[in-house]
């Protein structure tokens, strides 16, 4: 099984007539995603890559049965567009758009909560269940179907790690991009819960970064998980007080530091890789011992991932 999206998902592309919308519609179709409709106010009746365009989400849902949406509209229009989708019954919205005002993001999340919809992003690369469905802007060729769940804040870093997993023979159930903004729809815990409950997912990779407390909170949840978790965190060398590209990636007043996150994750039973390309090896080790050990939780396993990775590097 995959989480959030699968081969049955019918995708609506909002902002389909723009450059990004049209390009990624083509890419998603090439991957096999069932893109059933697009919206672009004033352009209803047109087609993009053979996909019918409507003025409103209402028509797209009624005529084509869309049940997930991906957002490519400019930031200033994103709130209205996402409300349009959710108000018309769409329960999964993937917001690719960068630069959405944080007050709009808070309103979007409140609206989604009231309608029991899931918003992935904003400022995300999207979500992909390899071999089944891709909703987003990630490259098509780096993923393979398999048993590893991946959750990340950052796009390209997750590509790097997903590619190394695929190369090592570790395919993925679903790869979820939470998004790089201060206010996003999903937390690590939301996604970890889904992976824990998904019978096909055997292990999880968490790709985090400095700033905020999301990784520390995730660590608390990981303690109770029966599936092994391997983490990689970016921002070890980042100086305090500098915002490193993402809205949340800043060490402020000594909070959200690399060290506090590593400590919390290791205390929660996760292995933390020193380098991105050590993730597959660490995960293989954890998966093997999980099989041998049965259904114990992460917290009851011993071992210190950071140390393991460190020792290996020392032998080189």
């Amino acid at each position: 099984m995959a989480i959030y999206i699968d081969e049955k998902t019918k995708v609506l592309v909002q902002g389909i007539t723009g450059n990004q919308g049209a390009f990624h519609t083509k890419q998603m179709l090439a991957y096999g995603t069932r893109v059933v409709a697009g919206t672009s106010p004033g352009k209803g009746g047109q087609e993009v890559e053979g996909v019918p365009v409507f003025d409103t989400a209402e028509e797209a849902v009624e005529a084509r049965g869309a049940n997930a949406s991906v957002i490519f509209v400019p930031a200033a229009f994103a709130k209205d567009t996402i409300f349009d989708a959710i108000d018309n019954g769409i329960k999964t919205v993937v917001a690719i758009t960068e630069g959405i005002p944080v007050h709009d993001a808070m309103e979007i999340m409140a609206f989604a909560r009231a309608h029991e919809a899931v918003v992935i992003g904003p400022n995300t690369f999207g979500v992909i269940s390899p071999g089944k469905c891709k909703i987003g802007i990630m490259p098509n060729q780096i993923y393979a179907p398999g048993k590893v769940g991946v959750v990340a804040r950052s796009g390209t870093l997750s590509y790097e790690i997903a590619a190394s997993l695929t190369q090592a023979g570790l395919g993925q159930t679903t790869v979820v991009g939470m998004g790089g903004d201060r206010v996003v729809g999903l937390s690590f815990i939301d996604v970890l819960k889904r992976f824990q409950a998904d019978p096909e997912t055997e292990g999880v990779v968490l790709i985090g970064e400095i700033g905020g407390r999301a990784e520390e909170e995730a660590a608390e949840y990981i303690k109770g998980m029966t599936k092994p978790v391997v983490a990689y965190l970016a921002g070890k060398a980042a100086p305090p007080g500098k915002r490193m590209g993402h809205a949340g990636a800043i060490i402020e007043r000594g909070r959200g530091t690399f060290d506090s996150k590593v400590k919390a994750l290791e205390a929660g039973g996760a292995a933390v890789a020193d380098l991105p390309w050590q993730v597959p090896e660490l995960l293989k080790g954890r998966l093997a011992s999980a099989k041998a050990g049965g259904g114990e939780t992460a917290a009851t396993r011993n071992g210190n991932g950071h140390g393991e990775a460190g020792k290996k590097k020392g032998k080189k």
Partner: protein, 377 residues
Amino acid sequence: MKLYEYLAKEILGKSGIPTPPGRVAMNPDEVAAVAAEIGAPVAIKAQILAGGRGKAGGIRFADHPEQARAVAKEMFGADLKGFKIDRLLVEKKLKIENELYVGVAVDGAAKLPLLIASAQGGMSIEEVPEKAIVKRPIDITWGLYPYTAREVVRRLGLTGTPAKKVAEVLVKLYRVFRAYDAELVEINPLIIAAGEGPGKEEVIAADARLNVDDYALFRHKELPVIDEGTALEKKVKAIGLAYVELDGDIAVMANGAGMAMATLDILSRYGGRPANFLDAGGGASVEPTAQAIDVLVATKPKAILINIFGGITRCDDVAKAILWVKQNRGIPVPLVVRLVGTNEAEGVRLLQEAGLNAYRSLDEAAAKVVAAAGGAK
């Protein structure tokens, strides 16, 4: 975007929150004139975009206009916490009875506005013990109702007129937070002054901070543009890329913020010291990438590392950008390129024809660039 104290106070004042009489002044004569107008004694406050100003000597007092002029002469042009003082706020000196902290911030985890208040104002809220802080998430759909403000104020231990007036301030403060797309608005201290006696106490915003969400500036044309970045940071921002200056000697470009951070980490691991952090973004085409490389060259590093994992970004575009800069501007320092992903073969071929090598492994590229910059430090 951070606003200067005097601008934040103008906004609070317009929104019905009492602020001390006073005005901003751009030279010593103006300072003296404002002091004469509002009546001494006055407080003279350096307008800089950093906290901790009081402790650093950024707030002085004067008993008459001439003294205000003399103090202003000393303050203008002086360096304070890395900022040069170029404007002073002159205000009536307040008699402080009681100092509170009140603020509204974005709570990323709750995805809601967070009302924060404490009876221990006057110092940084980070220094106030957690048990002395009242926090209340606000449902953004409905906003802050007066009853919620009254509950918060009661928890601060206030009664009577001060309780009533502080609750009013909270409601107005929340409106400012929403109306100005604030990431943070805070009054610290919010002072309670005796006024004309019991029942007539006054509540005044003695200091204010208002940080507006950069992403929302497009709908706040009424605000002045305040950019605290360095000249280079401003230039790169204008191109639309994320750039941070650091203090090392290896210039770094990567695509995507997470990847850029990871690249710095790996460089540091080899003892390299990054000079900057440039996120070329996902899907950057030839022209912005060339501009980005141009910026890196202009920082005069000892070496440059370009790390691209091509997804949406095409490796051949990156190679073309590198070659454009090499041919048209020249790259006078060692350049190490790590290039994998979409159209990798074509990108590598283009570079090789021009005598440049590209690495597949980031590990190898990082080691190489550190050596090129003179080895581990």
